[in-house]
């Protein structure tokens, strides 16, 4: 890729990022998904923990923030191509010389980045309203973990967006896919509570490793070496997701252009 092309793609990502953020701030569903729902889950967890809330505060803040990240990925990033179809711009996106993956990458980056607001809001809630100690044991590793979590979630979004657009039947299962990942990834309770046979399912989910890294870094219960291992696994998953998404986008564009059904229906 030459420098001019790279600069052009970065500009497209930037515009897609800004436009998506602007559109999202007035969307009631998105506001609910990234702000209200994680906040209510954080409140519920804090009240349910009762006496133990003080010692688990940062765990709850990080965990509820992760629920916001996952729900946002599932419902918002998952529909980032579908939305273009609904508003009639998909045809232009497919026909223009700019790669559609570049635009969707910019959109997903905006979705995932703004989802971090759920973690910030939970942090403010626990700190200000409940007056709980929210110190992060390993701030440097926590920030690095957060960065790799964003990358992994954006990469995951690049897989589910073309899957949802090509398979409307799969999209119908969106509602059923939200809580299982909360459960299997150990966002708000350890997976040790689950039967042993579910553990392999947790291991193949990038959100599980993201949760391990973020919880470990924030509470200080994981050693730096363990956190780096979790991040290495997260990077491996992200790379795999990008490879799969390249193939999926290729299939989607082929189907779109060869079948001449730009609506993909």
């Amino acid at each position: 890729m030459n420098l001019e092309r790279l600069r052009s793609n970065l500009r497209v990502i930037g515009y897609a990022f800004v436009m998506t953020l602007k559109q999202n701030v007035i969307d009631g569903f998105i506001i609910f998904t990234i702000l209200i729902q994680p906040l209510i889950i954080a409140l519920l967890a804090l009240w349910m923990m009762d006496d133990r809330a003080a010692s688990h505060a940062i765990f709850i803040v990080v965990g509820s923030g992760l629920t916001g990240l996952w729900s946002s990925l599932l419902f918002i990033s998952g529909n980032s191509i579908n939305v273009e179809r609904w508003i009639g711009t998909l045809e232009f996106m497919v026909a223009m010389p700019t790669p559609i993956t570049t635009i969707i990458f910019g959109k997903n980056l905006a979705h995932v980045t703004q989802s971090l607001a759920s973690m910030l809001l939970s942090y403010a809630l626990a700190g200000i309203l409940f007056q709980l100690d929210l110190s992060i044991a390993r701030p440097g590793l926590f920030l690095v973990s957060l960065l790799f979590t964003i990358i992994a979630f954006v990469a995951f979004g690049l897989i589910i967006a073309p899957i949802f657009v090509m398979n409307p039947g799969v999209r119908g299962w969106q509602n059923a896919m939200e809580f299982p990942v909360y459960i299997l990834s150990g966002f708000l309770f350890p997976i040790a509570l689950l039967p042993g046979w579910t553990t392999p399912a947790s291991y193949i989910l990038a959100p599980y490793w993201a949760a391990r890294a973020l919880h470990g870094a924030s509470s200080g219960e994981a050693t730096p070496a363990s956190i780096l291992l979790y991040l290495a696994i997260l990077i491996a998953f992200s790379s795999l997701y990008v490879l799969i998404s390249r193939w999926l986008f290729k299939v989607m564009l082929h189907k779109t252009r060869v079948d001449a059904t730009l609506g993909l229906q």
Binding site: G28, A45, F189
Partner: protein, 267 residues
Amino acid sequence: MDRPVIRNLRLFLDGALLSYIALFRWLRPAAYLASKIIMPLNQILFFTLLGMYATGRDNASFYIIGNALQLTAVSGIYGVTMSVGGDRWDGTLPYLFGTPANRAALFLGRAFFHILDGMLGVVLGFFWGIVLLGLDMSGTPLPVLGLIILVTTLSTTGLGLLMGCLSLITRNIMFINNTVYFLLLIFSGANIPLETLPEWMQRFSSILPLTRGIAAARAIIGGQPFADIKPLLLGEMAITFAYASLGYALFRWFEFQAKKRGTLEAI
């Protein structure tokens, strides 16, 4: 039975069936399965496991019962709201306002099948609780539990009718629906013992549907006699009446305004 009564009864049942079919016409069986069977199971599992982590395994039944009853809000809030609001989105509201049909039969009919659907959802919730989480209901008088499920479903449906009216005047009804549904997870006592909440929250809980129904279900499964839960059920019925009446009054008010302004729409 005189003819107007038969006519209104037919209107009620036809309207109930058609609005229900219309609501799910775009759904495939898989989507219904995902939204009404798998998602509720996941929700029960998530909050029960969270509760067990927070307070210990011995308290699992508290969360299973609370969240099984809460499932009635899926039909009561989302289903009913979408059935009432569907007339606006599908463009049939002006025709509805123009017809001489009995308004109460039309309005209440929108909720009928969601009541049956909501009850089925709660039964499934208890089924998952027994099979997967070991809920012990061996000493529970099932007819009484059935009555509690019916009364609680009616009360959430009452709230759904009120919110359905709001869907006639707002574009962001799903935002309101989602927020109310999740707030009920706190305020209904499904996941938190109400006595641990601040007093203002307890007072607010007392005017919401579900609160008394969940308390009654926990009491009857815990072995208390029917006489103890009777006041709770009467309170839940009063809440049904209050919310449904308010919803109906709003519906008639919107109709009056629509005709007065000549818009034949609620806004």
